[in-house]
């Protein structure tokens, strides 16, 4: 078993995350390790939520990418917090509202792609301007706090593991089942390998594509809801860093950019790594410029290492 583990595409993401963790702990000492782990699990879970949706989209092959994730996060966070108004007993409605916003945004994205036949990159990008504008218009600079119960839940832990991480783990499990065990997952992979051949084999290509863009938007909305509860309120730029993050965790996690091949465990490895690499470089006291360059170089190295492994027969 050990002989084959390291050839798995997700191995490199987890190995790199472990290395970054070790390197940080060496410097900061063992007493900081627990706190670092909790922080990593918490922040990684937001990346996991958006990364899973993006993974499904990217699996459909070249040209498929969801650029509206940050805007959907912001919109869902802003509107659901406004709806709840910080009052107790509104939590479920807030969550449902956020998910509903995700659903609507996903349908809007796909409608643009399908009706206007424009490339998904353009469609999701232009839709995201609309989403962002609605968020700005409804927010008007207000900072509404989440209900106390939600704020406590999203920052709290169960059995020593942050609640956010439990949600990220559950979502990953659901996606794993979806990708590996359902007809939808098979069809998604078929479309990514060869959309034309998939259609000729009876795959309902448009139905699967629509479902996938909706799925991605719903995951972004869930992440936005959770993040705004976690950070004590929605902010208009709260989604900004999750655009590149969602794509990076897919790529580093070992899913194929060429499509057809998705990798759920890798999303978690990559999300942990993306957080840990920044905290490692931070604790070594490197400036922002150097930090960004090193982050880039390390990402490229991991992608090369992972793909190199897969190319050897």
């Amino acid at each position: 078993m050990m002989a084959t583990t390291w050839t798995r595409p997700w191995f490199w993401a987890f190995a790199a995350a472990a290395l970054a963790f070790a390197a940080t702990v060496v410097l900061t000492g063992v007493q900081g390790a627990g706190g670092l782990l909790v922080a990593a699990l918490t922040f990684a879970s937001f990346s996991v939520l958006v990364g899973l949706g993006q993974m499904a989209v990217i699996t459909m092959g070249p040209g498929n990418v969801d650029l509206s994730i940050p805007a959907v996060m912001t919109l869902a966070g802003t509107l659901s917090l406004k709806l709840m108004g910080g009052a107790a007993g509104t939590e479920l409605w807030g969550l449902l509202a956020a998910l509903g916003i995700g659903l609507g945004a996903g349908v809007a994205n796909y409608a643009l792609i399908w009706l206007l036949r424009i490339p998904p990159i353009i469609a999701t990008l232009s839709a995201s301007f609309v989403f962002q504008s609605v968020a700005i218009w409804s927010n008007r600079g207000l900072r509404i706090k989440p209900p106390v119960s939600l704020a406590e839940f999203s920052t709290g832990s169960t059995l020593g593991v942050p609640n956010a991480a439990w949600i990220g783990l559950a979502a990953a499990l659901v996606f794993w089942m979806l990708i590996e065990r359902t007809a939808y997952g098979r069809r998604l992979s078929a479309i990514g390998q060869n959309a034309r051949a998939a259609r000729l084999a009876g795959v309902p290509v448009e139905g699967v594509r629509a479902a996938t863009y909706v799925l991605s938007a719903v995951m972004a909305a869930l992440a936005g809801f959770l993040l705004s509860c976690f950070s004590g309120g929605a902010a208009l730029n709260m989604g900004a860093e999750y655009l590149l993050m969602s794509i990076a965790v897919v790529v580093i996690g070992g899913s194929s950019i060429a499509g057809g091949n998705s990798n759920v465990p890798g999303i978690w490895g990559a999300a942990l790594f993306m957080f840990l690499i920044v905290s490692m470089l931070n604790s070594y006291g490197l400036g922002a410029g150097v930090r960004l360059i090193l982050t880039g170089v390390i990402i490229v190295a991991i992608v090369v290492a992972a793909s190199g492994r897969r190319l050897t027969p």
Partner: protein
């Protein structure tokens, strides 16, 4: 006459892939002015032999000796079975890939001249522009370009051209042009290795026929030394001549009726004939797409499609044999959204057995199979859906005689069980197996032939303008 020094000679060549012996103890030489017909089943070792002659694979035993040093210098050229043009480049630009002497500022002009004159020579009236992007060409024209490239001047001149299933997507008249060119090439002292499952083509051009079986050369004689039957026997199959009594269509229920006049009854085998690229494939694709949904996988599956262009329309390259096989039937294998994996495994095992896919493990990648066996998987994919309508888009490309016989048998028994088969083929011989044939010309149905009237002559006549009276 040229000297008889062979262009290439193989001496006790063997090749193994891991534990699998693809080729053993092959001694063979090809002299200028020879056309070597190479026949054998899928997996008999023909492709491996080609790869050794072209130098793509080094032999694991024995050696290959060339007249000019390396295969390239000896003028060895190959037209592979799976077409290998770069789809994003133009016809002329593709020539740059094998011909490395096309360089300098004006290389495009030179390439254009070379490919044009080669196309004119091999396929008069080809209608292919040198500046057309290859991806925009239909399959038959891509195959013509690739063949012309192999015969084009430039670099070391072609002295041995290997044609691996060169006519698989060409219609009869283009195939004929190619065979005539092979003759001319031979008379000028060129050598050709001609691989084809279409035996009358082999008889038409070969001066010598080599039969391969299980990685060995089992027979090697002048072409005159065989009859069709003895050749098929040498390949290891009993000929099934005359087993072609005509079936009467089962019922009068009409299953297909299109505005363009295409009709098919339940249990009927309906052929779409005519020259390649006259709208048959488009008519089939349209029909299939209308019957199936873009939005929902329906169960029971209303129609299934068998692709002929495997790479473009059929195979899922990163998947296993099993997943490729079950794809079209997913709608029926679904239970609450999940794939019922036990049922899937039974379905795959059942069809592997029924259609005879040569593998001991259907968990292997589909690309580990030879082309003919991949095609069997695509057949199984369509038939396993249980769909009442099977649409086949020239599905016998690169399939060997034995497999073809099995598949014909299967098509007939599926039709007898009440399924309707729509079948487009570039091989007129296959069309004579149908109950009814529509001959296409310029995107329209030019003639409808039934029963005894389905003959190669009538189909050919209707393919050209003089054939109006054929029906």
């Amino acid at each position: 006459m040229e000297s008889a020094a062979p262009v290439v000679s193989l001496q006790a060549v063997g090749r193994a892939f891991g534990a699998v012996r693809a080729l053993s103890d092959v001694t063979l030489s090809i002299a200028p002015g020879e056309v070597l017909g190479l026949v054998g089943h899928n997996g008999a070792g023909k492709s491996t032999l080609v790869n050794i002659v072209t130098g793509v694979l080094p032999p694991s035993e024995g050696q290959a000796i060339y007249a000019g040093g390396t295969p390239r210098e000896a003028g060895v050229r190959v037209v592979a079975q799976e077409l290998a043009l770069a789809p994003n480049l133009t016809v002329a630009e593709n020539l740059r890939i094998p011909q490395r002497d096309l360089r300098g500022l004006m290389w495009r002009g030179k390439a254009r001249t070379r490919i044009r004159s080669a196309l004119d020579e091999v396929f008069p009236d080809h209608g292919i522009g040198a500046d057309t992007v290859v991806g925009d060409l239909p399959l038959a024209k891509r195959q013509m370009v690739e063949i012309a490239m192999a015969f084009a001047e430039g670099g070391p001149a072609p002295r041995l051209v290997i044609l691996d299933e060169p006519t698989s997507s060409l219609d009869a008249s283009r195939a004929d042009q190619l065979l005539r060119h092979v003759h001319r090439f031979r008379e000028c002292g060129g050598a050709v290795i001609f691989i084809s499952h279409i035996l009358h083509e082999v008889f038409a051009v070969a001066t010598r026929v080599v039969v391969m079986r299980d990685g060995r050369v089992v027979d090697d004689r002048p072409a005159g030394g065989y009859t069709r039957t003895s050749l098929v026997e040498a390949m290891g199959h009993v000929a099934r001549e005359g087993a072609r009594e005509r079936r009467i269509a089962a019922s009068g229920v009409e299953v297909v009726s299109t505005p363009e006049g295409l009709r098919a009854g339940q249990g009927e085998i309906v052929g779409l004939a005519g020259l390649a690229g006259h709208g048959q494939a488009e008519a089939l694709a349209r029909l299939y797409l209308e019957r199936t949904s873009d939005w929902r996988g329906r169960s029971p599956v209303p129609a299934a499609f068998v692709a002929g262009d495997r790479a473009r329309d059929g195979v899922m390259p990163i998947w296993s044999i099993a997943r490729n096989l079950s794809l079209a039937g997913l709608a029926m294998l679904r239970r609450a959204g999940f794939v019922d994996r036990a049922r899937e495994a039974r379905l795959v095992a059942d069809w592997r057995e029924r259609i005879g896919i040569r593998t001991d493990d259907t968990g292997r990648p589909i690309l580990s199979l030879s082309g003919g066996n991949q095609q069997k998987v695509l057949f199984a994919r369509a038939l396993a859906t249980g769909a009442p309508l099977i649409v086949m888009d020239d599905p016998m490309r690169g399939v060997d005689v034995g497999t073809k016989g099995d598949v014909y048998e299967m098509i007939r028994s599926e039709a007898a069980a009440g399924r309707t088969i729509l079948w487009y083929s570039t091989e007129a011989e296959e069309m004579t197996l149908c109950d009814r044939v529509y001959v296409f010309r310029n995107g329209r149905i030019a003639a409808e032939l039934r029963g005894e009237k389905i003959t190669e002559e009538r189909m050919l006549a209707a393919s050209f303008d003089m054939g109006e009276a054929a029906a």
